[in-house]
């Protein structure tokens, strides 16, 4: 199962993949074996980790999207590649993902700068066409999942996190799915929840509250009691509590709306209390209905705050709920969940923690679904080998350089079970690293090297696609669980919000030498006269 968005077409692609494919073909090199790396250069959100996601969507594309039917061929032939050799299109018609081999991190694995998340191997023209779909699929998926995990870390593991962002999302379908994967408990997005087989969340908006003027808008005063199964006058019960608690000075339409909602969902009563005035109207109105509901044998669920100083309001609400419990002499409203929403981002969550609050459930929209702090993941897909020869892109900026050749990556684990560093090596036999002191070289600084005797070496890449799926994919709940486990591998200082310690990514000595060699072979030394 994937995100439920439709499989993208192979033409959801940059044109240059097809112009290059044609140029490769025209030069008779389109079937040369090539290796491409998908990696990123910098972790998102000023952090020092990312979580790799999107693999299931990518495999869905390889299985169901990567082919050219007559209509697609005809479009390319008649429009952007007009005039190209007809034989090319005959070949293109045969192209699909069957000659590709995809090595990848397991979905949900921690990922770090320059460690390939995916290594794609296959005929150069075909692996080239994969570039844009792969990036389009994995970049946002990894960004979103990482973002959601950061929200989870900021909120604490014991709070409930709900994603409410569909209305502001650029891609709500993927946003809901990957938010959940990264650590959210639920979503208001019905379609996404259906796909995930979880219950979507939500109760009422301001429109519902403001559509009532007063209790003459109620078409019934009755609610069936859960205690004895008899229909009783609920409105009267509410008004009685209202009078006992001297809560008459509230907005009457709001009270009517809460009564109507409680009659509809007596076991699911959660009220939005900020339509007119949170503390002077919404909360007292809620309390009247909640106490009356209790008398009918139903347990009210909670309140939602959607404006104002959320942390402060949550404390004042909690205090008032306690006071009412004290007044009635029983524990009823102490169990009420306080939900808060409205422009909550990672920083706001952290500041809530500092100032103290009584919020049990966070509803988070815009900031999680758009990844407002950094709305794009900088993953790139670079050619590193063709026909057995290493390739490199040298840039004006050294850190934009790619590492040449077909490579493996390994996570070295220390005695405490935590990850020490990721080591990139030339492609090697999987056992050849074991039980040795390993010299780990910084890619850019010859003086920065460390020797490691790891307790465990985890090979990071698995062959997941070899013309077809090599093994069944994990389910979304399995991936979600994997992320929780992965996070325990990382030292606290890498996870800090402010100035986290960079996680070390090293090259083996052999790869370091190879990099220098390829660099020297391809660089241009300007001749000054």
């Amino acid at each position: 199962m994937t995100t439920s968005r439709p499989t993208p077409s192979v033409l959801k692609n940059d044109l240059y993949q097809f112009t290059m494919a044609y140029a490769y073909w025209r030069n008779g090199m389109h079937l040369k074996p090539a290796v491409f790396d998908f990696f990123f250069r910098q972790c998102p959100f000023e952090g020092e980790f990312a979580i790799f996601a999107g693999l299931a969507d990518l495999l869905d594309f390889l299985e169901n999207g990567f082919r050219f039917n007559d209509e697609k061929i005809e479009y390319l032939r008649s429009q952007p590649l007009k005039g190209a050799d007809p034989e090319f299109f005959k070949w293109l018609k045969t192209v699909d993902s069957s000659p590709l081999r995809i090595y990848a991190l397991a979905e949900g694995t921690l990922a770090f700068p320059r460690v390939p998340l995916i290594r794609a191997e296959g005929p150069i023209a075909i692996a080239q066409i994969l570039e844009t779909p792969l990036l389009e699929i994995c970049n946002f998926a990894s960004l979103m999942t990482t973002n959601a995990r950061r929200f989870r870390m900021a909120a604490g593991m014991d709070k409930m996190l709900l994603e409410f962002g569909l209305r502001r999302a650029q891609d709500g379908t993927r946003a809901s799915y990957y938010s959940w994967l990264g650590g959210f408990d639920g979503t208001s997005n019905v379609d996404a929840a259906k796909n995930l087989d979880i219950l979507p969340k939500g109760t009422m908006a301001h429109s519902f509250v403001s559509s009532f003027s007063d209790h003459s808008d109620l078409n019934s005063s009755i609610l069936r009691s859960c205690v004895d199964g008899k229909d009783r006058n609920f409105l009267e019960a509410v008004l009685k509590v209202r009078s006992e608690l001297h809560f008459e000075n509230t907005n009457p339409g709001e009270l009517a709306a809460f009564i109507a909602y409680a009659q509809t969902f007596p076991s699911g009563f959660l009220a939005l209390i900020d339509t007119y005035d949170t503390l002077n109207s919404g909360l007292p109105n809620f309390i009247c209905v909640a106490v009356a509901l209790n008398g009918f044998g139903y347990r009210p669920l909670g309140v939602r705050l959607d404006s104002g100083d959320l942390a402060d309001l949550s404390k004042k609400c909690r205090q008032k709920l306690h006071e009412v419990d004290t007044e009635y002499g029983f524990y009823l409203l102490g169990g009420i969940k306080i939900c808060a929403s409205n422009e909550i981002d990672e920083k706001v969550l952290l500041s809530f923690e500092k100032q103290g609050h009584e919020i049990d459930v966070f509803g988070i929209g815009t900031h999680v679904v758009t990844c407002q702090n950094q709305p794009a993941f900088g993953g790139v897909y670079k050619l590193v080998e063709v026909d057995g020869k290493s390739c490199i892109k040298i840039s004006q900026k050294r850190d934009k350089m790619s590492f040449p050749g077909r490579k493996d990556a390994h996570r070295l684990i220390g005695q405490d079970g935590k990850a020490i560093l990721d080591l990139i090596t030339k492609h090697i036999h999987p056992t050849s690293l074991k039980e040795k002191t390993i010299l780990c070289c910084d890619p850019f600084d010859e003086t920065d090297r460390i020797a490691v005797i790891p307790s465990e070496i985890i090979p990071l890449h698995t062959l997941i696609w070899d013309g077809g799926l090599t093994s069944p994919l994990p389910t979304p709940p399995e991936i979600k669980k994997r992320i929780d486990q992965e996070m325990t591998r990382l030292r606290e200082d890498h996870l800090r919000t402010v100035n986290p310690t960079p996680y070390r990514v090293s090259l083996s000595l052999e790869l370091y030498g190879h990099l220098q060699d390829i660099l020297r072979r391809n660089m241009v030394v300007p001749l000054i006269k």
Copy 2:
């Protein structure tokens, strides 16, 4: 025609639309006539205008997406609304967009804070269900279109703007479409270009360049001359130019890649020149191939810079191209287009203008497609009237308040043809405003009023959906053109990047009074003892 993304399902929706629909139904009020406004409170990107977009997509949803089949009903019945009255689902099964009336700005119209972009009317439960789909569709569309227009303004009207962002996009399909609508000339996204019936753009990536080692990788030296139709040795011609110009000290793989590309696309030769070293390798290699191509009767197109100091490099490239023209004594390379890409945003474009540059074409990715400066548009959808009675949401913050009642909006035009302000009134007969002095009241400040005798009054809302489309929709090129025209309506000072003058949005005196009235009727005055 719309963006080409599939019509969203009605379940791509927030759950609370369905819980509220059920509560309205249960309270017998689901068919009460209601009016909802779609508006925003603040213009995006720290600007003072927005462009309304998404209407065609919305109408597509109304026509093709807004209905409940058995599977959808069964999901709601068995999962989130488990236990609800079966009669409700019988009713829900009959629900579609036929009882709705949609009044809207024409797509591509300038929009301002608090002026409804859309007014949706219909039975409250049905108009309620429309909320999330409408916001999901129109928020991002309006954001993207506005963002693209800002890039267009920053680049100047005479430059070519291409959108290259699919790989970093959250929703590449919509991003490409609305970028084009807002002012971009083209896109690399094949699928989006196909949908728009424009030619997608693109040539080569670094992978193509780095896949060649030297000219032994070429499978042919030949190119058919455009002058006499004869096959000639193109490689030799290139090497001759190289020797004449003393350009031997360049990367040989890059030169081979350029030759192969020119052999494939002799009339479309545009080379990416920064794979190894822009000025010392890429540009000289380009020049060799370009001069040789010219000898074969083909006109080379241009170079692309994708790293480094783009403005500075563009000037140095232009200078070198001129020098070669001078050396050969004919004008050939002067017409070369210089394209630049790499993390270009609105500010970078403005700084290019200031420092001077020789860039003809901008390739813009991440920043335009994700709207990095502000990735969400804050459009909201608020109930303003039910059963003929005005509703209001009062917030702790005054500027989050909605304006009550069924309203119209008008753009008042001055003698210079520029817009003076937008006036919101109670719903009135369209001609009743004409030829009067109109008192225009600030919604929040009683002391801020102006009287206007407009030269022209443009009613902003049209009934576009009345259970079905009321008239044929404009085509995308017509909408694009409309945006160009709309922009001429706005005074320069509203369009400034830094501290633009806010555009005035006023209420009629009658509406101002009505707002105060409804506010007083619904606000809660806390009683302090």
